[in-house]
């Protein structure tokens, strides 16, 4: 059977879209995984190139064209991109992603053009919020992996802009105004994205494709929490906002438990991820001499995450637990180096200790990962 014949059957109403998809899958008519990645990446590259060209054309010298025509052309391109995306998203889903990226990017280009025409000097937060509001729903309506990544990045930029935007009405400065609260707010955002990706993992629809967002989100969160936990920087501000942000993390983890994970395992993960940041901030606030406790906590939490990953057959958790343990090991070596005379012998010993730690950790990780893969099969 050919792909075209399946499409004809679907168009005639003899089979549903889901059945058409299942038949195509059965006869391997969706192409191999390798080819899919190739088409997807080529389509994305084409989308980026076209979008870049359009943005440059719009924002550079369209001198002979009146402003109204410029805006109309940009709006027509925006509409055209989404019409094309809607038309081809079933037959050529990977190409549709590239076209969708153009559509989302055109919204940004239209905002930029609008600002350019009227000489607007609004802060970044306002433009960012407008872009975010315009595109944040779209990846939930159509499978748009690249646009979803764009939305995630925009949310981080938007939060940073809101926290930095002291001179405008659109700011979080009156409520969040010190580095401790800023760190907590960012951590909360990364945690929210990680939870969203974890929920997508169990979804039946195309939302499942967004599960990979969990990797950058959790990585960013772990990097952020290591600053207070392992290095004693960024303490705990004595404010209601800080208290609220600190409590919001564990609360969010408890409320948003993914369906497919057992409560016991989830409580372990929630404890390790939810308590790490407040614990680190409290240790930083207590003052000097708390670094060893922070490092011990880092080793404990990382090891715990590895164990839960092994029990729950989740390779990502195992890897992130390894990352935490390794980070704690690096912090330990840095701490030792800082307190000893920096002679050549000390450096060699420290390097050897670190290499040994990496070796042991990687052997253990591989062993556990192998066990997970075996059990999963």
């Amino acid at each position: 059977m050919k792909r075209k014949e399946i499409e004809q059957l679907e168009a005639a109403g003899i089979i549903s879209a889901e059945q058409a998809s299942a038949i195509a899958e059965h006869f391997h008519l969706n192409g191999t995984a390798g080819r899919q990645w190739l088409v997807w990446s080529m389509s994305s590259l084409a989308g980026v190139l076209i979008l870049g060209g359009i943005i440059m054309l719009i924002s550079a010298n369209w001198e002979a064209i009146p402003d109204g025509v410029k805006m109309a052309v940009a709006m027509a391109l925006l509409l055209g991109a989404w019409v094309a995306c809607a038309n081809i998203h079933r037959t050529y889903p990977l190409v549709a992603e590239g076209v969708g990226l153009i559509g989302g990017g055109m919204w940004l280009a239209c905002i930029a053009l609008y600002g350019q025409i009227f000489q607007l000097q609004n802060p970044l937060a306002e433009g960012c919020l407008l872009f975010f509001a315009g595109v944040c729903v779209l990846p939930f309506l159509m499978k748009q992996r690249l646009l979803m990544l764009g939305v995630a990045i925009t949310s981080v930029v938007l939060l940073c802009a809101l926290l930095d935007n002291a001179e405008s009405w659109l700011t979080l400065r009156p409520w969040v105004n010190n580095s401790e609260e800023v760190a907590s707010a960012l951590a909360l955002l990364f945690l929210a994205w990680w939870l969203f990706a974890e929920h997508c993992r169990g979804a039946q629809s195309f939302l499942r494709e967004y599960r990979r967002l969990s990797i950058p989100a959790l990585l960013a969160y772990l990097i952020l929490l290591q600053i207070p936990l392992l290095y004693g920087e960024v303490g705990f501000a004595e404010s209601r906002m800080q208290l609220g942000l600190t409590l919001a993390g564990p609360l969010m983890l408890l409320v948003a438990k993914p369906r497919r994970i057992a409560w016991g395992q989830w409580l372990c993960v929630a404890t390790m991820l939810g308590l790490a940041l407040p614990l680190g901030q409290l240790l930083s606030e207590i003052g000097e001499g708390m670094e060893p406790i922070g490092i011990a906590a880092g080793l404990l939490l990382g090891g715990g995450l590895m164990a839960v990953g092994h029990r729950a057959l989740r390779l990502e958790w195992l890897n992130f637990g390894t990352f935490m343990v390794l980070s704690a090991g690096i912090a330990l070596v840095a701490n030792v180096l800082d307190s000893l005379t920096q002679s050549g012998v000390v450096l060699i010993v420290a390097g050897c200790v670190l290499l040994g730690l990496v070796l042991c950790l990687e052997r253990q990780r591989r062993k556990l990962a192998h066990a997970i893969r075996k059990k999963s099969c």
Binding site: A17, I55, M56, S59, A60, N61, E63, A64, G68, M71, M75, L78, L79, W82, A86, R90, G103, W107, C110, Y114, Q116, I117, F118, Q119, L120, Q121, P123, G134, V137, L138, L141, M142, E167, S168
Partner: protein, 266 residues
């Protein structure tokens, strides 16, 4: 069925985007057409930006002595104790004036009037502009926005501006003045995107004007700019003039050698 609903929702979102653009574009266009315009002297900077096109960065000399404040600006005791002189920007330099019979702390009479109680205060004020004999608009007074006296007199234009109260030292004398700007974010600087219409702006500026900075005839060009005053306090430069000639024509004239440079000052 669900896919069709998703596509309908997709186009609802896209329609909302287009509607927002169309409405705001139309409103801004009408607003700019009806906004009052002031003409100011300004300085220039070279216009180069790969992504945003060619632009001019305009620097304004909008520094005013405190005595220019209207009756509804009130200042507190701590400020009065430090104010000895005012400085006024005149002919390219600050000229100092003594404070007339030292400032006395005054109490705000209206609940919405502004009270300045410390130095380096950053406030939003209403500025009133009037066209002077030199053909340019000058600020005649400033008021607290929405105060009882905040109404333009005949022949005046009003706009909202940001004011920083600066305390600077000039020749070992302490001077206190308002530094006014249209945009809070960019202080005294505004970017102006230029539609050059000749397609070779960078070459003109780099090769003919900025080829050798020492030879740059800055003193032979007078930069002026029309600024539309929007009710929402943001000001929009609408046209830049070089020696009174609109910028696109001026660039063309510089290129073909017919630009009327000002005579060299002795």
């Amino acid at each position: 069925m669900k896919r069709n609903v998703n596509i309908i929702l997709l186009f609802v979102v896209v329609a909302a985007q287009l509607l927002w653009l169309a409405i705001n574009y139309h409103q801004r266009r009408i607003e700019l057409q009806t906004a009052p315009t002031i003409c100011l002297r300004c300085n220039e900077n070279d216009p180069r930006d790969i992504l945003r096109g060619d632009f001019i960065r305009l620097n304004f000399n909008l520094t005013l002595p405190l005595k220019s404040a209207g009756t509804s600006i009130f200042w507190g005791k701590s400020l009065c104790e430090q104010v000895n002189t005012f400085s006024v920007w005149e002919n390219g330099k600050y000229v100092e004036y003594k404070v007339e019979n030292p400032l006395q702390p005054r109490q705000a009479q209206a609940p919405n009037a502004l009270e300045i109680t410390s130095q380096y205060a950053s406030i939003r004020v209403a500025a009133f502009w009037k066209k002077a004999e030199d053909g340019f608009h000058h600020i005649v007074r400033i008021e607290a926005p929405d105060s009882s006296a905040d109404t333009p007199a005949p022949g005046e234009l009003r706009c909202l501006m940001w004011a920083d109260i600066n305390n600077t030292r000039t020749d070992n004398q302490r001077t206190t003045c308002f530094n006014l700007s249209f945009s809070r974010a960019n202080r005294n600087t505004m970017l102006y995107f230029v539609e050059e219409k000749t397609g070779d702006l960078m070459r003109i500026w780099t090769e003919e004007l900025h080829k050798n900075y020492a030879d740059f005839p800055a003193n032979r060009i007078r930069f002026t700019v029309d600024i539309a005053l929007r009710p929402s306090a943001a000001a929009v430069p609408t046209m830049l003039y070089l020696n009174g000639i609109p910028y696109p024509q001026a660039v063309e004239q510089i290129r073909n050698g017919t630009f009327p440079w000002l005579p060299d000052e002795p």
